[in-house]
Structures are given as C-alpha cells and as structure tokens.
C-alpha cells in the first residue's frame, strides 16, 4: 500500500523496527485539531480548535476541551488558529495541544495525584491519609510532575501538519516548541496535500481540499508539493455558513435562529409559523463569541441536512435551471432548535452554488465574505493547473483527490466531475474520494499517520541532534 509510494523518494534502508517508536501525529486545523498515534487509522483525539477563556475577577483562565465549551458566565470562546489555517497564538497553541494529547491520548499518571485534584471532591474528610499515599507514590520517582511530562515527550517523535502556505517563521516555531518545549527526540512537519496524497496512496495527485476556513487546490508530484500550483481561497465551510446565514436573513419571513443552548423545550408548530418554545434561563450573559460558536454549530447542522450542491448538468444560474430545481427536486424541511420550521426548496442549492460560480452568491452576503470570480473552486483548479507543467496535467487530472469536511456536502463530487470535464474536455478525469467520512475529514492526519509509522521514514525525522547542530532553520532545509 502506501509503503510503496515512499520508496520513490526515499531509499529503503533495511533497518527493521523503525516503526517501534510511538510517534504522535498532530494536525491542527481552523475548526478541528486532530491528534493521535502514528499507525492508527483515525485520530483518537479530535477537538474543536476553540477553547474557553474564563474572564473572572482576576486573571483570565483558559480551559481546553470541547466539553467545557458550554454556557457559562464570563466564558469567551477563542481560537488559536487564523482563518488562514495557520497557527497564530503561539502562547496558547502548545498548551492546547499538550492538553489534547495529555487528556485524550496518554494515561493520566504523569501528574502527581496531589496536583491532579482527583482526590479533592469525594473524600475531603480523609485528606490526611490520602496525602500520605500520594507522597508515597511521588517520592519514589523523586520527580516533579513537570519533569515527568518532559520525559514523556522525550520518547515520542512528533509529526505535524501545516498548510502549504505556512510561513517559515511558523515552521521554525513549531520545531522549537517540539524540541525545546516538549523535548521530542525527533520532529517532522509536512504539508497537508502531501499527506493527503499519502492517505490516498497516490504520490502524484491534484489535491482539492475544502476545509472549514479555506479551500485549496494543490498539485503534488512524487510526494512534493509544487509550490507554484498552490491556490487557496476562503470558499470553505465558514464561507458556506455565511451563505446560509444570508439565506436565513433573506428569507421571508426572516429566520432568526435560536441556538440549542437557549431552548428549554419546544412545541411543534406549522411550517413558517412563529416558534413556540420555552427559553432557557441561564441567569447570566452569554458572550458574543460563545453565541457565534453555537450559531456556527447550528449552521453546520443545516449544511449537513439541507444544503446540497447543484449537480448540473447546467449551472444553477442558467435561466430555467432554478425552475427545474424548484419543481423537480424535493424540498427539505429544517426545524430550528426552537421548533420553527421551514421548507427549503431551490434555495438550498443556491447556497453552495457560489463555490463554483461567484455570480450565484446571495445578494445579501456581507462584504467581507464576498468572493471574486478568481476565488471559486473552478478558478482555483484552473489556476492551479496552469501553474504546473503541461505534461503533468493529464496525470494530475487522472488523480484528483478530494478531501476536507466541506466536500461531504451532497453532490459535491458529481458537480466537481462536471466542472472538470467541461474545463478539460478530452482529458481523462478520475476523482478519488474516500467513502468514509472520517477519512475525508481527517485525510491529512491519516496520511501523517501512515507516513510516520513507516519504517523507511525512520531516517527522515529531524533528530534532536540535528536540531541542536543546525538550529531552527533545519526545518526549512529538510522539510521541503
């Protein structure tokens, strides 16, 4: 399988046992951060890249973990990534990742029982004894919790993913964090398209990745990203959500969705009728950021269950097509958390049409979310291919790999096929997309998992020694 791909770039060395190391694979994205062990088929830890900041009276406190993103007083939802899918907040990111790995991948024992608070709640009346027990356990190792943590990462190489347009500074920060902060013995950073191509088992491929914050089209040749081919635009999940929002606002009557956390219970009402629901009384104010986070989740549900890509054969905005959509396709009902429900007919195609055709954007799209003709997926693909050698194009078009959660919208592949055929008549086009949604959502992670568990990859890692000899810029030299 994928093992064969690597042999073209790296000479296999017959060091058996290169896979013995337990490596971590970390794949940060704008909406989700994924982490897991190399060699597994899916990341064990998947968590939104959002975290909670509690603005108390004194110093604000950050809490990481999806389960803590709940209505709470003074809770602010923040994200450590930028909308360009690169790490922005380097103070938070390592902590976020560390908590993710520690809480979900590792056994909890490296934290001394005294500090982990596990003994606090139920048995307060016997602290005396409990503490005695703790010291018993702790003094054996003689280490503080922090030392233990370091030790833990000391044995685990780390493979990170990055957006193809990641900056040099950012990459250097990554290796610095891994080497200095976590004490990793080895490190590697790889661009997502490369990894996706690994996951798909195609060393040469055209990677179409539509994620949450970005859509990108990148040509990968023999496991290397062709830099001139990198194309990206914001037509990802968030942009789609904005279209959904615009759709709701432009609807008659205007839809003003209430997110789930504000509803205590609801009563069924007729379509289009005002909602009858009991609001939940929280007794405190909800921050805007939390509300936005929740709204986004609701829009995600709408995208999942209602939005569909118009499959063609004609573009949706062609005269007459809209009528066909209205009359010949079934509508979908969407019930909002407050119980109000609406029937969505042709408009549910219109929402996603902007991905392919900028004229189809809803008229009331906010300006900052308007895209130009150059930013549609069709244009991205065209521009990407015009950036690569003509001889390569047939090969790339024969290996189109689709990844990213936003490609899971119904009809995406059908439409992509039509667009490609119309754009490149006469060329053989083959679209490869994983059937399992998890593989599509975690494409880059899976690729990283495969790559880092390969024995042949063993000698590719940037070792600690190399790092110490060369400094942070080793990453630019090695991870091309």
């Amino acid at each position: 399988m994928a093992a064969h791909n690597l042999t073209s770039t790296v000479q296999p060395s017959d060091v058996y046992g290169g896979d013995e190391v337990q490596a971590f694979v970390l794949d940060p994205g704008y909406y989700f951060t994924r982490a897991g062990f190399a060699g597994e088929d899916a990341p064990k830890a998947v968590q939104p890249s959002f975290y909670a900041r509690i603005n108390g009276a004194d110093q604000p406190k950050d809490i990481y973990g999806e389960q803590y993103l709940i209505p709470r007083e003074n809770l602010e939802v923040r994200n450590y990534m930028t909308k360009d899918s690169i790490v922005e907040d380097w103070d938070t990111a390592p902590k976020f990742w560390e908590s993710l790995i520690r809480n979900q991948l590792l056994p909890p024992r490296q934290v001394a029982p005294k500090q982990n608070g596990l003994n606090d709640i139920p048995r307060e009346d016997q602290e005396g004894d409990v503490e005695m027990g703790d010291s018993n356990g702790a003094d054996k190792t003689g280490d503080t919790a922090e030392d233990e943590e370091l030790k833990l990462f000391e044995e685990s190489p780390l493979l990170m993913t990055e957006a193809p347009w990641n900056t040099t500074k950012n990459r250097e920060k990554s290796i610095e964090m891994a080497m200095e902060g976590w004490g990793c013995p080895a490190f590697w950073i790889s661009r997502t398209p490369t990894l996706v191509s690994f996951a798909a088992g195609k060393p040469t491929a055209l990677i179409i990745d539509v994620g949450a914050a970005n859509a990108s089209v990148v040509a990968v040749h023999d496991g290397h990203v062709l830099k001139r081919s990198i194309q990206k635009s914001p037509v990802g999940g968030l942009w789609l959500s904005q279209q959904v929002q615009a759709l709701w606002e432009g609807n008659d009557p205007k839809v003003e969705p209430v997110p789930f956390f504000m509803v205590e219970n609801k009563a069924p009402v007729d379509a289009g009728a005002p909602a009858q629901y009991t609001a939940r009384k929280l007794g405190f104010d909800i921050s805007e950021t939390f509300r936005a986070y929740e709204d986004e989740r609701l829009r995600t549900e709408f995208k999942e269950s209602v939005v569909e890509v118009w499959r063609g054969p004609t573009r949706f905005m062609m005269p007459g097509t809209e009528e066909i959509a209205r009359n010949q396709t079934p509508g979908r009902v969407f019930e909002f958390p407050d119980g109000s429900n609406h029937m969505w007919r042709e408009t549910r195609y219109r929402v996603a049409e902007g991905m392919w055709d900028d004229t189809a954007q809803l008229p009331n799209t906010p300006d900052e979310w308007k895209i130009s003709a150059e930013q549609t997926l069709s244009s991205l693909i065209r521009n990407c291919l015009s950036g690569v050698d003509v001889d390569l194009r047939p090969n790339l078009l024969g290996n189109v790999v689709v990844t990213g959660a936003s490609t899971l919208i119904n009809g995406f592949n059908d439409r992509l096929n039509i667009e490609l055929t119309q754009m490149f008549p006469g060329l053989k086009i083959r679209i490869h997309s994983a059937g399992l949604s998890s593989e599509r959502r975690f494409g880059a992670w899976v690729g990283g998992s495969i790559l880092s568990s390969l024995g042949t990859f063993h000698q590719m890692w940037i070792s600690r020694k190399e790092y110490e000899e060369n400094g942070v810029n080793i990453v630019e030299k090695r991870c091309k």
Binding site: M1, R102, P113, E264, N265, D270, A271
Partner: protein, 829 residues
Amino acid sequence: MSGAGGKFREDQVLVICPGSQTTIAQMGVAELSPPQHKFPTRMFHDPETPGDFLPFHTFKRKKQPIPEALANASNSGSNPAAAEEEYEWVEDSDSVEGAVYPIVGGRIVNMKAFLAFLEHVHSSLTTTYHNTPILLMASPQWARDDYETIARYIFEQTKTPSVCMLMSSIATQYGIKWPNMCVVDIGYQKVDCTAIYEYQIVNHKALCTTTSTGEAFTLAGGDAFTHSLLEKLEEKGFNHDMSEQLKKSHICEVLPYAPNSPPEFVELPTEPASGSATAAAEAGTASASAPAAGATGASPENPRVVEPSHSKPAIGIEEENGENGDKGGTEADGVLDVASIVASGQTKEFLAKKEKEKQEKAAKAREKKKAAQEAAAEAAAAAAAAKPTRLPNSRRVKNVFHYEQIVEEEVMVPVLVPKKDREGENKAAAAAEGEGKEVSMGDASAVSPPPPPPAAAAAAAAAAENGSALAPTAASTEGKKEGGGATTEEKKPEEALKAKSPTPEPIMVPERQIKKIRRDIEVGLERFTFATRALIDQLVHLIFETIQGSPEPYMRSQVWENIVFVGNGARLRGLKENVVATLHARHLVSPSTATMFLSELPSNIATPSGTGSQTPVPAGSSFNTPPGPPHQLAGAGTGGGGVGGSGVNPLLQAATTASLQLPNRPGGQGGDTASNAGGEGGSAGVGLMAGFHKSHHSHSQTPTNIRAAALPTYLGEWTKNGYEEAMFLGSLIGARTAFCPAHNVDKDTLECIRGMSLGRVDYNILLPNVKEEKARRDRDVRFQRFDRFVDPVLLIQAVTVMEVLKCRVAKSSAGKAEAEVKVKGEWKV
C-alpha cells in the same frame, strides 16, 4: 487465542469488569446470571513495604491482652503482661481509611494500584493460574499505554493463556443486543456516552469530574447527584454517606419532566390543603417533643428521635434509668428511649475503658446535634404517617427514610470457660448483652419493612442511638408492638442475666463487631429537588452531542431509537424517564406540516389518480399498498393514536398522531404503531408525499424519534436485577464468544474470534524482547507490526461479537434469523 486448540472450559474463564468504585468479577461464564462477586475497587498502601499495595486497610494495633481467665483456662501459662506489649497487624475489610482508588472517573490514575488490584481479584477467584483466560472490560478513558501495561502485566506476572479486553460500551451492547445503540453509562463520577452503529463505536463523549490537569470543572455521574443532595441537606446534618443512602432509598427520585413548570421543570408535591394545619401540627409536635425531652432529661436540642406515643414501657424504664444514674455522656447522644439508656448504662461500665468507644460516641454526639434540628419535622412526619391516606412518594411533601449506619466497635464477648468462677455482675450483664444481640438482629430485620409503623420507627431510631444498646432496644420494640406486655419483655434480658449468673461463667474477650444502626430521618422536598436542571441538562446535552456528532448523518436516527442507560448511577429513580422526556421536549424534530401544506401533493392525494408522476410512492415504503392511500393512512392513524374519525384529512391525522406520540409512548404497542406511522417514514405524511425526497434520504434531520432501547426479556434474572450492569452480562457473553466458541463455526468466524483476544503465543511474537526489557517504555514495546496498518489496540481489543455474528450471517444461507436463534440458544442457560 493461543494455537489451534485454544478453546477453554466455560468454568475456567475469568471475567473482570472494573469500575471506579466497584468491580464485578466472576469465574466461569457458564451461567449468565447477575453479578455475584463485587469487589470494592480500592487498594491500600502496605505500611510495611512502601510501594506495595494490600487489598484491605491494614494497621498496627496493640494486641488485646488475653484475659487472664482465658489464659488460665487454656493453660497457656503465658504472662499476660508480656502479651500486652505485643502488636499485631489487623486487616479491616470495611475501612476506607487511606484507600487508594486506582480508577477515578474511568481513568486509571494509579496503575500500580490497579495492577495490584487485578492481582487481588485474580487470586481470590482463581485457584490455579493455569489455563484461565481473562476478559477484562476496558473503559474508553483508558489510554493506549494502559492497555499495553495491563497486557504486559497479565502475561508476565500470571500464567494467563489469553486475554481479551472489551470496551465497556461494546460489552453493554453484547448484553442488550441491539446493533445500533446509544449507551449512556452513568458511573460513579463520570458519564460515558457512546454511539454505536452497526456494532461499531462511531462516537464517544464523556463527562467526567476533572481533567487530568486537575481542573475540576463539572461533577458528573451518580456522585454528582449525591453531592447535590448533600449540598441541600448539609445544614440538616447530613453527611456524604447519609446522602448516598438517601439517594439509593426509594423515597428519592427524579420527578417526571414537566415542560410547563419552570424553572426546574418538575411538579413538586405541594403541602396538603390544610396548610395552616401543618404549621399547627408542627407547633404541636414541637411541644410534644418538648415533654419527651423533659421526661428523659435530655437537653432540648437533643430530641431527634420520634416519640410517637409515650408508652408505658418507656416511662417504666425511665425510672430505672434514674436509678442507674446515667451520666451526661449518654444523654448527649440524644438517647431518649430509656431502654437503651439502661443498657448503655450497663455496657458503659464495660466499655468505659475503651478509648475508641468514647471517640465514637463523641462523633455521634456531634452528629446528633446537627440532626437535632430535624426533630420537630420528624415528629410531624410521625403525625403524617398516622394519617390513613397513603400517597405515592412523588406526591408527598415529606417522607421518611431509614438510615443505616455501620458502626464498628469493640465489645466484650463472652467465652464460656468451664468452671472458673469469676463473680461479677458486669460480666454477667455483658453475657446478657451478647445474647440479647442475637435477638436484636432478628428483631431489626423484622421491623425493617420500608414503611414501618411509627412505634417501630421510633424504636429503630432509638436503637440507632447507641450500638451497644441494641439488645434492649430491640426488646423494647417488640414490647411496643405487643403493647401491654412490653414491660415484661423489657425485663427479660435482665432476668435472664440474673438467672444465668450462677451458671458456668463466661469470660469476656474483646472482639470487634459490626453493627447496623438504623435511624429514621425525614426528608422534605430536597429529595426531589436535588436532581437539578443543570445535572439533567448535562446528560441531555451529552446524549444529544454524542449522537448528533456521529460522523455520518444516516447513522443518527437509528441510534436515537435505542438509548440505553447503564451503570449503577442510572438506578436513580425516574432519571432515565426524565432525561428521555427532556430530550423529547427539547430536541425531537416533529414531522413538519410544511411538506403537507406547501407541497402540491395533498391536493393530488384526494383524487384516486393521485399517485401520478409527481408523487412517486417509494416502492420500499411501508405504505406501498396500491391506490387508496387515504384508507391506509387512516388505518395507520387509528391504529397508532387511537384516534379514529372520518372527514379529517388523513395526512393531517397521520402527522398529528405522530407528533402526539410522546403521550402515547408508554403504551407499548400503540406507541410503536404510532411511531411507525410517524417516526419511521420521517413522519408518514412527509414520507409519503415527498416520496422522491425520502428515497434519497429520509427526513434529513434527526432525531425524529427518540426512544429508550427495549431490554431483552429472555434472561429472567437480569430482568429482575435490572440491566444497569448489562456490561457484565455482555462481558460474560463476550468471554464465551472469545474463549469458548462453538464447534461448528466456520473459518471466517473463527478468524474473527481469534482476533478478539490476544493469546500468549501472539504476545510473544509481538514482543520478542520482552524478557530483556528494563524500562517500561523501551523501544521494544511494539504493538504495531511493520507491515500492518492497523489500530494496535485492536490486536488486544475485541473484534466485536456482533462482527463474528455478521460473518456467520453472511455465511449461513438461512440468514440472520438463524444466527440470532443460535446466539440466543447459546445465551440461555
């Protein structure tokens, strides 16, 4: 499984289901009976060798001097003085002092202790180490390292031939058998919610007390309820143990969800119409209890014991009490029942030397003080109990629960020594006491039925006042029951005592005894309000997020239809119902009228030619009968909702029936039909009319139907026991499948079964250098093989039984039904 002959005997399989508080373990999987052996999941530091663990609290204790007489009698000739200085190690199997809990919130926080605990369980259940494969239930919080460490330990420290680790949610599924389920496992301090689709875990989320970095954020699980209860009742003198017992008692329940009564959304019982009367009653009881207090000479704050009718015996003994000149110590205990005072007065003489006893009393006194405030209320309860009307618990403002406290103390136990006269009233009395104790035990059980008559309650409460006073109290209970004969009854032990004194003299030997002390405590509305909205919302939110978070939308609807609550935290009365009802009220997507009224279809349906090109009825639909859909629907509507009627738009009827299914739900059959009419087809109306729509995806939004999973009925014992411990049942089944496969399995199935467990041979192949290894995480630890791209944990963790079944189904021409029959046949004992 090691080798081809890797089949084990059914009675030689060890199944261990660890929990953070209790671990269920059983040797042998031949019988699928509810759990027999439960081990508290805790270990204790070995005081002698630090770093080691012992299963029980062990402490050094000064050896009790062997009474001279006994020593003499046994002719040991040892010097009692020398014996006095000896120390002994004592194991106390009930103490939790200094306990180490290896599992907290599902995570193994102390692996050393956990392994020691495994060893303890293993050794107490197995006689030989040979050929006993182990099925260990794993929890989703375990990390990969944990699996590895445990596997290493088991293979290297025991002679176990084969190990299977089974995820608890999958185990639950084996027990309850549905292919698609949402397993809500309410544990001690955590809640796990797992969505399972087609035998595969598709999503898992959990609530747990803390993060490993020590941030206590939320409380979850059964303990959260206890804490909430404790919080509400703390000022009334409750402690954690009392709250726990109250929570488990039948009077504590979660009231049904009432969507229209904010803020807590339950309907609390209100005071009976005679609101003023209650106040009066309270005043009355207060005054009533005052004389009681006065009569016994206890301080006014003490009378916490219900004194319903001051019967003669009580007064009679009261006088005796005066004679005995009991001191304040006993009084401080709040003992009002004179019978006990008498007894305690006597026993006190014996036990006065025991310091421990004193401490205990002091502690009790404190407790009493706190509880004292309740006294008045309790008296009111007694009055209430006297009322003839018997309301269900949920309609009563107050109810009484019986708190049983286990107290351990040292008492002198008589040992009969042949002919060694040791004159002394004390000993004799003690003998009587010892004898009386047996009586009391019997009596206590006789008294114990849940709604006890006030008199019994009072007596029991009195008994609670002092463990050592048990005997006479019990006697008095009897006395009260019998009314007139009480006084004589009361005297009996003493008479017996006197009669006995000349007979062969018993010698007192100190012995530790465990006593049950019962108290009746009245609890008000706190027993309902403790289940706060926040706690229930937590669960509701968790379930919603877990199921809606399943990766593929089509999985969700089926998972929504089989929600099952397991874990002993789920035993809380009414909790499941409330959670499901809340889910219904908050998240159920009702069949929309949109498709009905906005689409062009309804108009067509009236005409016989309605099923034209625009209304393609899906061929596979349950309503695929030829023309005349109105009739069909009317029929379904009638069957489902029990609402008949012509002239009503049948579609509307179907839709409304479906939306009304919530009230019908418990109806079973009727409810089912309704849900067929409504839920399944994405609501009949929608499904039928938007046939085209449905043929692609059903109602794309979920949940359109929320249902608690039906529990299997073919295991009678389990039905009685409740399926809260279904994971244990599932583990038994899993162990059987993994280790004792039937003879007639085909090759593929065998392969699956082989994959379920990790045999010693495989282990040795996978870990060739294991013996030489020093450090735990040395590079040689490999669970991954170079050429295999698999989840390493899968090697040890099971391929699900159901997968095995699937193979079987695929292979057998007869299909699924046969396979099911087969399995059931295997399950039955």
